[in-house]
Amino acid sequence: MHDSTPTPQPTETNSIYGGLVSAQGLDLDQFESIQTQVQAWMTQAGTGVKFVEARGLPIVDVILRFKAGTVQDTTHAGLAALTLYMLDEGSQQAEHLERLGAVFEKQIRLEHATLSLRSLSTQAVLAPALALFTDLVAHPAFLSSALDKIKQQLLQSSASRERHPALRARSEAFRHLFSGHPYGCPLGNTAQGVAAVTTDDLRTFHQRAYSASNLEMVVVGDLSLAEAQALSRQISQALPQGWSATDLPTVPAATRATLHVEQPGASSAVLLALPLNVPANDPQFPALVLACDVLGGGFESRLMTQLRQRRGLTYGVHTHVSPLRAGGLFTAEWEVAPAHVQGSQALVVTLLRDFIEQGPTQAELQVARKHLEGQLLRGVAQNQHLAALLTELTHQRQPEDHLNTYLERINRLTPADVRTAMHRHLDLSYTIQVSVGPSVEQQPLPAPDQ
């Protein structure tokens, strides 16, 4: 829980550290640098691999990211998700992995299907765990007896996503913004599509989308380069060969909209979205990440200060930039009393307009830099986070030196750079407002406390 007591005013002698003895001698304005040694190669079967040797703990993390997300559903909406969820269904491999204490996880998104394995590095555990993991991904059983159950679970999970107000608001924004494009099916399935899928469809989809050449692999942990190379070879040779997803068409032109979904509840979920067609590897993208952080990234952000601290309208308001390969969006999300939906939407639009117009202050920018720096430093210090981060950076097609130069690059950005990037990429005339909750008579917002 966040502490809502106001931060004490800084004193001149001990600026922001509030007199903490333990913070003396710390120079928070000093930027740390990241020196992660990433080895990269391509296997003969066409799998791109990133590897970081980390000997501190007896753990190995392996992440497989296939371009086998729900946008690859060309026949039936739901096929990609069912293929992933059926991989380990009814298999002995998953049960054996559990007995080794290994953790196997799967995740499906619009653009990818991701599988991960976390295992102890002891040979007696790692070797069988990798063999089971490889077999599970490369030679799934796709038992027809399990398909009906998995279909039912997928539909139930989608139905519960649709009942969840904040997720529903997000889905509505995607449906509107990407209408007619594969991104316009945010749940990744339809009842009709799911009903039509057969185990033959799963096998056909698996043969293509789970190809070695459609895979990016990340390995972090307690093993040598030679061992990591052998591991990557083992997995990529076992997989189907020779298919790669092609890039998606660019997203359709956006139009503004105000959408409301009627749903009972004690509060409303509200979302504001703007199209943001800037790939994550665009040189201006870091400036947009900083802008997003100043606006709604932390407890001191502009939106949090105005909506929560000064008016008590919401518990939290957060902004995100979601870069997808063929387009993307900027979102602000908050929960509010149903009578304050319109008032809070108008307030957020005003704050956003002022921010785009003026840009951040130097002080705001510094807070955002330190926030991002802290996140990144903590992230690279953990094997699991580092593996996930490298997977994401590879997916975003970031250059090799991205990680080790990122902090230096955001440190160089000025308030004017951030303002320029926002002017160029954020256009309020395409605002999409979504609310999910009960319709009630709208009330004016309470006056700010000061």
Binding site: S22, I59, G101, A102, V103, R118, P264, Q382, N383, Q384
Partner: protein, 220 residues
């Protein structure tokens, strides 16, 4: 330590209370009906914590119960009630060993369609009773140990989690250095010890059951 904390004057600590489980009684239950709630059931048992367990063996036997019973596809209750006879869509379990007083073992179960929370709870209680009457198999115990021990290594990847583990151990009056010996103690737990702990603690009189119903109309 000296640099950061030496200047803080020592003070007498307030008397620490050790909250203990309520005296044994009949099974307790409550029903929640809320719009948007998943239909399911939560079953909790009053259990000793790492501090209030009668012995180290008992304390570590209790630690293995969530993995044995409900965590992972091949846990006993998931095999029976999610895979073989899908009364439940999903199931998981949690037990907080670090408390000054007694603790809880909780099982969170979500019902398959057409199964009521009451039926799901009854089936769970029946299977838990069967588990209580027979010690776990060696294979199931090995699986639970492998998972618990691996997880402890995995948690060391996160410096925050390490601090948390040390802090919790100290806060409930146990020696943080004893964390070093946990691996050995967990490996030494026998099927009989788990069977004995289950027999003693997974009883009706220690159970509290919550039935969760989704009520689509507004909450009155």
């Amino acid at each position: 330590m000296t640099r950061h904390f030496a200047s803080i004057a020592a003070n007498r600590l307030p008397a620490r209370k050790t909250p203990l489980a309520p005296p044994l009684q009949a099974r307790r239950h409550q029903t929640l009906r809320l719009p948007g709630l998943y239909s399911g059931t939560i079953i909790s048992f009053n259990l000793p914590s790492q501090c209030t367990a009668q012995s180290g063996e008992q304390a570590y036997a209790l630690r293995l119960l969530p993995d044995l019973l409900a965590n992972g596809h091949s846990s006993i209750l998931q095999r029976l009630l999610v895979l073989d006879d899908p009364v439940l869509q999903s199931l998981n379990s949690a037990y907080e060993p670090w408390q000054r007083g007694d603790s809880l073992l909780a099982l969170y179960a979500f019902c398959s369609p057409q199964v009521t929370p009451e039926i799901a709870a009854e089936r769970l209680m029946l299977e838990i009773e069967a588990f209580r009457q027979a010690a776990p198999s060696r294979q199931d115990l090995q699986r639970a140990k492998a998972r618990l021990l691996a997880r402890q290594v995995f948690q060391r990847d996160d410096i925050g989690m390490q601090a948390h583990a040390i802090g919790k151990q100290a806060a409930c009056g146990l020696d943080p250095l004893a964390l070093e010996d946990e691996r050995q103690a967990i490996e030494a737990v026998t099927t009989e010890q788990v069977g004995q702990a289950a027999f003693e603690f997974l009883t009706d009189s220690r159970a509290a059951v919550t039935f969760m119903h989704n009520k689509e109309s507004a909450h009155a």
